[in-house]
C-alpha cells in the first residue's frame, strides 16, 4: 500500500436550516469531525444508511459543498474553509467522480465523445481533434466500441451509460476517483460487470477509489479499508477484513446482520434495530446511535462520545463500551 494521498483532519460540514426568516438558523450536522486516511492505490469504502453524510463527505472533498471547519490534505495541498479557488483548482485536477445515476449524470444533448472529453475541454483543451482522439483512446478500455463515439446517450443501457461516466472520470488523468454508489441504479446482472471494470482500471491506471455504498457485501469484497458512518459521524474505521471479522461498534454489527444472504450458512442471530435514525438537526453531544443501540448503557446516555479507541492494528471505533 502506498503513501497517504488524502487525509482529513476533523472535517466538518454543517448546513444552516431556518424554520422562519426571523428565527436563528438551526445547525444541521451533516458531517462531524471526520478523520480518515486514504492511501495510494487502495479502495476506501464508506458505508452507512441514507442521510448518514457519506455523500456530503465526498462532496466536501470534491468541493461541491463548502467545508465548515477542519481541513483535509490532498496531493500536497491543505484545503480548509478559507482556501482560495485557485488552489482548489489545483487539487481538483487530481480528482474525478462517478455518480450514482447514469440516467441523470450524462448530458443527453452531447455525443459520447463530447461527454467523455468534457473535463479536458474545461481544463482548456479546445482542439476538437485532440479531444476526440483522447476519448477514442478510452472507450475501448471501458468496454465500449469505437463506433459508439458519435452516438447519443439515450441509445445506451444503464450499464453502458455508467461505462461512459467512468471514461469521463478517467480522461483527465485524475488519481483519486470518488465512486458514489456506482452500481445501485443498475440492473443486478450488470453490477459485477461494472465492479470488475473498476477493479481492472485501478490496476491499469494506478487509481485510488473512494467507494461509497450502502451495499455491505460489495464493500466487503471490493475495499481494502472502510469507514462506517452514522448521522455524520464515523463510528468505526479500519481494515475491511478486521471490521467484518470483529465489528466493534453495535451499529456496525447491526448493519452486518441486516445483510440478506441467498444461501445462509447457519442461522445467524439477527439484530433488528428498532426505530429510525434521529434528526441531524442540533444533535446533542452524545453518541449519535444511542437511541437505537441495543446495548446502550447509562454511560452512553449521559456522557459525550469518547474519542476513537484503538481496537486493533489500524482499526478504530468510537464507543463507550470499548473505551477502557
Amino acid at each position: 500500500m502506498g503513501e497517504v494521498i488524502l487525509r482529513t483532519n476533523d472535517l466538518t460540514v454543517d448546513f444552516k436550516v431556518k424554520k422562519n426568516i426571523f428565527g436563528r438558523p438551526d445547525r444541521l450536522s451533516a458531517v462531524q469531525s471526520v478523520n480518515l486516511e486514504i492511501r495510494e492505490g487502495e479502495i476506501y469504502g464508506l458505508v452507512g444508511e441514507s442521510g448518514c453524510g457519506k455523500t456530503t463527505l465526498a462532496n466536501a472533498i470534491l468541493g461541491f459543498v463548502p467545508i465548515t471547519s477542519g481541513s483535509f490534505e490532498c496531493f500536497g495541498h491543505t484545503i480548509d474553509a478559507s482556501t482560495k479557488p485557485s488552489e482548489w483548482r489545483e487539487v481538483r485536477k487530481h480528482m474525478q467522480t462517478v455518480f450514482q445515476d447514469p440516467y441523470s449524470s450524462l448530458n443527453t444533448r452531447f455525443t459520447v465523445w463530447q461527454i467523455i472529453s468534457e473535463p479536458l475541454y474545461i481544463a482548456g483543451e479546445r482542439d476538437e481533434r485532440v479531444l476526440r482522439e483522447r476519448a477514442a483512446a478510452l472507450v475501448e478500455k471501458v468496454g465500449l466500441d469505437y463506433t459508439d463515439l458519435d452516438r447519443y446517450v439515450f441509445e445506451f443501457s444503464g450499464g453502458q451509460r455508467q461505462r461512459i461516466a467512468i471514461a469521463r472520470a478517467l480522461i483527465s488523468d485524475a488519481k483519486l476517483i470518488v465512486c458514489d454508489e456506482p452500481t445501485s441504479a443498475l440492473d443486478v446482472s450488470v453490477h459485477s460487470q461494472i465492479c470488475n471494470l473498476l477493479l481492472d482500471l485501478r490496476e491499469e491506471f494506478g487509481l485510488t477509489y473512494l467507494f461509497i455504498s450502502h451495499n455491505l457485501s460489495l464493500i466487503k469484497h471490493i475495499t481494502d479499508h472502510m469507514a462506517v458512518m452514522y448521522l455524520g459521524e464515523v463510528m468505526e474505521c479500519g481494515k475491511t477484513e478486521d471490521i467484518f471479522r470483529n465489528p466493534a461498534c453495535p451499529y456496525t454489527e447491526a448493519l452486518m446482520s441486516a445483510i440478506l444472504e441467498v444461501n445462509p450458512r447457519s442461522d445467524r442471530e439477527r439484530i433488528i434495530l428498532t426505530g429510525e435514525a434521529r434528526s441531524p438537526i442540533n444533535p446533542p453531544d452524545l453518541c449519535r446511535f444511542v437511541g437505537r443501540c441495543p446495548r446502550a448503557t447509562e454511560l452512553c446516555r449521559t456522557r459525550p462520545l469518547p474519542p476513537p479507541v484503538q481496537i486493533g492494528d489500524d482499526h478504530m471505533a468510537r464507543c463507550h463500551l470499548k473505551g477502557k
Binding site: E49, V188, I259
Partner: protein, 331 residues
C-alpha cells in the same frame, strides 16, 4: 385451493406504431396462505404481471389477454378478473386483494393527513362513521408498529420518513384483512436496517391475518427471507419455478444460476466478481431463440434457433431450458 390463478397472461404495450411484448404467456398460482415471490430484473415484466392482476394498467396503451385470471374470494366465490366491471374491481381491491408499492411517498396524497387517508378505507369499504374510522385507523397504526399513532394521524406525508410511510401503506393495504397481498419491491427505496423491519412486519401481518403474499423483487436475499415458492422471470417469460430452497441451492436454468453466482460469498473474499456478459435485451429486439441465449455461457445452436418451452421436471419444478442439468455447469 388457489387464491390467485393466472394462466397464459399476455400484456402488450402500444408505443407509437409498435407493440412491446412486456409479458408473454405467464402462468402463476398463489395458494391459500402461501408466500410466493416473482424475481427478475427491471423490464422483465414482474411488475406488469402484478398490475395486470389488480387491473391497474390503463388499456390502451396496454392490451391484456389471458386464458384465465381467477381470484377466489374469502367466501369461496371465484371472480374472473378479466371480465369484472371497474366498480366491482374497486370493492375487490381493498377488501380481497391489496397492494403495496416500491416508493411509498408517491402513493400517499400530500395534501391529506395520514389519518384522513387511512380513514377513507374504513369509511368507503366498511361504512363506518368518521369517528369510528379514526379509532380503527389508530388501532391499525399501532398494529404496524408506528410510535405515537394519534399524533402521526394528524401529520402530513412529508413529515414522515420512508420507513414510516411504508408502514402506513402496509396498514392501509391490510386494514380490511384482504386475502391476497401483492408487494411490489416494498423495501427497495429503504435503508437496510429499515428493510429488515419492514420485511418482518409484512411477514407478521401475513401470518396473523392468514393472507397470501405475492412478493415482487429483484433481490434474491429478499426471496430467501420472505417466500416459500419463487418464479424467476426474464424478458417477459418465466424461466424457472420451484420452491425457494430448491431454486436457490440447485438452480437448473443458466440465468438463475448466473444471478446466484454474481452474488459473492459472504464468508470468503473474492478478487473478481462473476459477471453475466452483455445487457438485458431491449424489449423490441429480443433474441430469436431463447431470450437468454446471447448472454448464456452454455448456449448451443438449438438455443439460438428455437425458443425452449417450459419443461416440467415432474417434481413441481418447471425450467425453460433444453439442458437444465448440473452436468452442464461442469463442462
Amino acid at each position: 385451493m388457489n387464491v390467485l390463478e393466472i394462466k397464459n397472461l399476455k400484456v402488450l404495450f402500444r408505443t407509437g406504431e409498435h407493440f412491446v411484448r412486456a409479458v408473454e404467456g405467464v402462468d402463476i398460482t398463489v395458494g391459500e396462505g402461501e408466500r410466493v415471490a416473482i424475481v427478475g430484473e427491471s423490464g422483465c415484466g414482474k411488475s406488469v404481471t402484478s398490475l395486470a392482476c389488480m387491473r391497474l394498467l390503463n388499456t390502451p396503451p396496454a392490451y391484456i389477454a389471458a386464458d384465465a385470471l381467477r381470484f377466489t374470494a374469502k367466501d369461496g366465490t371465484v371472480h374472473d378478473l378479466m371480465q369484472k366491471p371497474e366498480n366491482e374491481m374497486l370493492a375487490l381491491r381493498a377488501e380481497e386483494m391489496a397492494m403495496i408499492f416500491q416508493d411509498p411517498s408517491t402513493f400517499l396524497n400530500p395534501v391529506m393527513t395520514i389519518g384522513e387517508q387511512l380513514d377513507e378505507v374504513f369509511i368507503y369499504h366498511m361504512n363506518m362513521k368518521p369517528k369510528q374510522a379514526r379509532a380503527r385507523s389508530i388501532e391499525m397504526m399501532k398494529k404496524v408498529g408506528i410510535p405515537d399513532p394519534a399524533m402521526r394521524a394528524q401529520q402530513y406525508p412529508h413529515e414522515l420518513s420512508g420507513g414510516l410511510k411504508q408502514r402506513i401503506l402496509i396498514a392501509m393495504a391490510t386494514s380490511c384483512s384482504p386475502r391476497l397481498l401483492i408487494a411490489d419491491e416494498p423495501t427497495t427505496a429503504l435503508d437496510v436496517t429499515i428493510q429488515a423491519q419492514i420485511l418482518g412486519l409484512i411477514r407478521e401481518r401475513c401470518e396473523k391475518e392468514r393472507m397470501s403474499l405475492l412478493m415482487i423483487t429483484h433481490d434474491l436475499g429478499v426471496v430467501r427471507e420472505m417466500a416459500e415458492r419463487v418464479y424467476v422471470m426474464y424478458c417477459g417469460k418465466i424461466v424457472e419455478t420451484g420452491t425457494v430452497d430448491e431454486i436457490l441451492s440447485a438452480p437448473k436454468h443458466p440465468y438463475t444460476k448466473a444471478l446466484i453466482d454474481t452474488i459473492p460469498d459472504m464468508e470468503e473474499k473474492v478478487d473478481r466478481f462473476v459477471q453475466i456478459p452483455h445487457n438485458v435485451p431491449h424489449p423490441m429486439h429480443k433474441p430469436e431463440g431463447c431470450y437468454f441465449s446471447n448472454r448464456c455461457a452454455y448456449c448451443t445452436a438449438l438455443c439460438r434457433k428455437k425458443q425452449p418451452p417450459l419443461f416440467d421436471r415432474g417434481d413441481g419444478r418447471l425450467v425453460r431450458c433444453y439442458y437444465q442439468t448440473e452436468e452442464l455447469w461442469e463442462k
